[in-house]
């Protein structure tokens, strides 16, 4: 590739470059340009920030992986310019989206108490209340002192789903860790009452965060895979089960 590309041609490549989707020659050309062009650097950073949001799954690293990281840390790292970070430290955190910080603030107001409130600006709080009601509700539910918590596990222990049941019978289940289903099948949630399963609702084929209602006498929760529309009785074997805390 011609190293003397015009600025327009460079710009056209920025998206592909941010996705590591250029060949080695183009990457070299781009890197040379980026060193001297703050505007293109900022655009690449923005594209990478956007791309990173597409990564929605997480894999539990095997426990020994951290040991391998620390094993590589034996050498003393070179000193770095701390002044740069001391300045940066005073910037507002980007680690937590502002609306989540606001949601956490609401949870505190609602009597939850366990979240550190990073930003409590009133306007943010209002916006969060408007657009993130469910997140707020869920956070508050899990922090409700009267709430009963459950962790539903799959038989192999690989999949964990968290749920909470409030005294008034409202419950929430965070079912996004379940793989998406296809072929006309859905997940269904069951509440165990007096040893018998009662449907607590169909979670769908691509479950996420769901609200449900169940009796106060519920002792355990379970999730099974059923045909679209759900079933009267769970198909065995039930995929995940978990006891509700007393």
């Amino acid at each position: 590739m011609n190293p003397r590309l015009g600025h327009h041609e460079i710009e056209e490549l920025l998206g592909a470059y941010a996705l590591d989707a250029v060949d080695a020659d183009e990457a070299l050309t781009l890197e040379n340009h980026l060193r001297g062009c703050p505007r293109c650097r900022a655009e690449v950073a923005a594209h990478r920030e956007t791309a990173a949001l597409l990564v929605e799954d997480r894999l539990e690293p095997p426990p020994e992986l951290w040991d391998r990281v620390t094993a590589g840390m034996e050498e003393v790292p070179p000193p770095i310019d701390l002044a740069q970070f001391a300045r940066a430290e005073r910037r507002p955190s980007r680690a937590t989206p502002w609306w989540l910080a606001a949601a956490a603030a609401v949870a505190v107001v609602l009597g939850a108490g366990s979240f550190v409130v990073q930003q409590q600006r009133h306007d943010q709080l209002q916006a969060a209340l408007h657009s993130q009601e469910v997140a707020v509700e869920v956070l508050a539910a899990f922090n409700d002192p009267g709430a009963r918590l459950a962790t539903l596990r799959s038989g192999d222990g690989q999949v964990h789903v968290r749920a909470v049941l409030l005294r008034d019978g409202t419950g929430y289940v965070l079912a996004d860790r379940l793989p998406d289903l296809s072929g006309g099948r859905v997940y269904q949630l069951w509440a165990m009452v007096d040893g018998a399963p009662r449907s607590a609702g169909v979670l769908g084929a691509e479950p996420a965060m769901a609200r449900f209602h169940a009796s106060n006498a519920t002792t355990a929760l379970a999730i099974s895979i059923e045909p679209v529309g759900g079933a009267e009785q769970p198909t065995l074997p039930v995929l995940l089960t978990g006891l509700l805390e007393a």
Partner: protein
């Protein structure tokens, strides 16, 4: 775990890493290793290779924390960009390329992850899915083939029988559109 570290900002954690505090790196790892591993596994067929990438990414952060510039973006996106680059380097070596053909989609769950982040993940995922709807099917496919498939724009062009220049341009316009959409949710900042 040190309570202060659990609630520390990215920038504060990097200061800790810069002062050779292993517990600061451990907190970065606790927050982000799951996403780093998930991205590496989507790109690499071998579990071992993916774990090696995780190891490299965190060791590099330990050795060169100053490379992360808080003003430029989140620590998460920095680590994921590093991960993507390293996984792609491995992928484009010949042996890995063959293995890639046999790769299938993998999904597993995580256990140890705090609720605050779990709920955030869910909401983020929901908003990202909604934002993706502003893209055309073509644009979505192009971004996914590049980012999760590890293909160059030239390869994507061949796969989709579309001119390379068009694909290149769509990668940029799709990311720009997506960002504009995400700006309205507060997930990214101007």
């Amino acid at each position: 775990m040190d309570h202060d570290l659990v609630h520390a900002s990215d920038a504060a954690l990097i200061v800790g890493v810069g002062r050779w505090r292993q517990d600061a790196l451990a907190e970065v790892y606790r927050r982000h290793a799951g996403s780093v591993l998930a991205l590496a596994r989507r790109l690499l067929a071998s579990r071992e290779e993916a774990e090696e990438v995780v190891q490299e990414v965190f060791l590099r952060l330990w050795n060169q924390p100053e490379r992360f510039e808080p003003a430029r973006g989140s620590l998460r996106s920095y680590l994921l960009a590093q991960t993507h680059g390293r996984a792609i380097d491995r992928l484009r070596s010949d042996t890995a390329r063959r293995a890639r053909e046999e790769r299938d989609a993998r999904r597993t769950a995580t256990g140890a992850y705090d609720l605050e982040h779990e709920v955030a993940d869910l909401v983020v995922a929901e908003q990202v899915r909604a934002a993706l709807a502003v893209l055309s099917d073509d644009e979505r496919e192009i971004v996914q083939l590049a980012y999760f498939g590890g293909h160059t724009y030239a390869e994507v062009a061949t796969m989709l029988r579309t001119p390379a220049g068009t694909v290149k341009g769509r990668m940029r316009s799709a990311l720009t559109k997506l960002r504009r959409e995400l700006l309205t949710t507060g997930l990214v900042r101007p």
